[in-house]
């Protein structure tokens, strides 16, 4: 029984991997996340780096609260 289950699981893996690798599920990439940094949905490089501390230190910072109900 256990042997049959293992065979079935192995078969699922063998049959399923090609469909994953060809990208038919939409989020397959070259490793990392579902979004697939490194050959996947996006090319992971410095364009996506955040600004870190940037200019926020003590100078910037303003926001519009949502504007709901006229009181905010």
């Amino acid at each position: 029984m256990k042997l049959k289950r293992n065979i079935l699981l192995f078969s699922l893996v063998v049959f399923g991997m090609p469909f994953a690798w060809t990208g038919c599920v939409g989020y397959v990439g070259g490793g990392g996340g579902y979004y697939g940094g490194g050959g996947g949905w996006f090319s992971d490089s410095v364009w996506i780096d955040g600004g870190g501390r940037g200019w926020y230190g003590g100078r910037g910072g303003y926001v519009h609260p949502g504007g709901w109900g006229g009181r905010r």
């Binding site: 079935l8 078969s11 699922l12 063998v14 049959f15 399923g16 991997m17 469909f19 994953a20 038919c24 599920v25 939409g26 989020y27 397959v28 990439g29 490793g31 990392g32 996340g33 579902y34 979004y35 697939g36 940094g37 490194g38 949905w41 996006f42 090319s43 992971d44 490089s45 410095v46 364009w47 996506i48 780096d49 955040g50 600004g51 870190g52 501390r53 940037g54 200019w55 926020y56 230190g57 003590g58 100078r59 910037g60 910072g61 303003y62 926001v63 519009h64 609260p65 949502g66 504007g67 709901w68 109900g69 009181r71 905010r72």
Partner: protein
């Protein structure tokens, strides 16, 4: 017979792996272009970021895995509000970045407009099962922005609850030129900001609802144009008190902004920046925490 069964099982495997929560539940056909409907944190430190935001905001994290790939959905209560995408980049310093996604009706048309007006496609339109088609495009100032054509429609406009996104503000060198880009490409209504005490130049609206703002950024060598996502919290002081212990830093101290609300900017433990705002009901002080 057995071979056919196995083949069918193999064919169905990827579909079962599609495990994104729908953006809108129950599903609808209404779309609200210009509404901020999702945000992803791109980070090289997914574990650290997950601990930070769950500890700070009370979010819960639900990891999704598919083979060797992973993604985390953050829930505010029972509502999915954000995602985390691990990055695979080595060497140097790579601060995390939040990227917000604005709802669109026709993603291909939107991406075409964005690129026609000077944008650069960073992640092409792709269908993510149970979510919809999404893409990331950098605007002419090289600031990435997401667009998302939801497969479940867009939720009605309601007041954000604590722990949910409240606003996105864009800080750029030339707000006027930038506002034209977002008007033409995304379809925002762009109006000069006229409210008292405002430091923004423009308000971006759609369907009569203000969605975000554009403000001038300071000059300086360390200045980087950026979108800043802002999350509503119930009690700003209590939330900020948690920041150092979680490995973050308060970059801009809490201060009063429009309508008496209070606002601050923090750096998370992985270098990502995010704003926090507490609504203050000045007309009904008893409603305040």
């Amino acid at each position: 017979m057995a071979a056919v069964a196995l083949l069918l099982a193999g064919l169905s495997l990827p579909a079962h792996a599609a495990d994104f929560p729908p953006l809108n539940s129950p599903q609808a056909t209404d779309h609200r272009p210009g509404k901020l409907v999702w945000a992803d944190l791109f980070t090289t430190n997914p574990d650290g970021a997950t601990a930070f935001y769950c500890g700070l905001l009370g979010w819960t994290a639900r990891p999704l895995t598919h083979w060797w790939k992973s993604y985390t959905v953050f829930y505010n209560g029972h509502t999915p509000v954000a995602g985390l995408s691990p990055r695979r980049v080595s060497g140097g310093t790579h601060p995390s970045r939040w990227i917000g996604y604005y709802a669109v009706v026709d993603i291909d048309a939107t991406v075409a407009l964005l690129t026609k007006d000077g944008g650069t496609v960073r992640a092409p339109s792709r269908n993510f099962p149970d979510r919809g088609h999404q893409a990331i495009v950098s605007d002419p100032d090289d600031i990435p922005i997401g667009v998302l054509q939801s497969s479940s429609g867009d939720s009605p406009d309601t007041e954000p609850t604590p722990g949910s996104w409240n606003w996105f503000e864009l800080y750029v060198k030339s707000p006027t030129a930038t506002s034209a880009f977002y008007h033409d490409a995304i379809g925002f209504d762009v109006a000069p900001e006229t409210r008292a005490n405002s430091k923004s130049d423009f308000v971006l609206s759609s369907n009569g609802q203000a969605r975000g703002g554009i403000a001038p950024r300071p000059d300086g060598d360390d200045v980087k144009s950026t979108w800043l996502g802002v999350i509503r919290v119930a009690n700003l002081d209590k939330t900020l008190a948690l920041v150092p212990g979680l490995g973050g830093e308060v970059l801009v101290a809490p201060h009063s902004v429009e309508f008496g609300s209070r606002f601050a900017i923090i750096l998370d433990s992985t270098g990502g920046t995010v704003g926090l705002v507490e609504y203050i009901d000045s007309a009904n002080p008893a409603n305040n925490p």
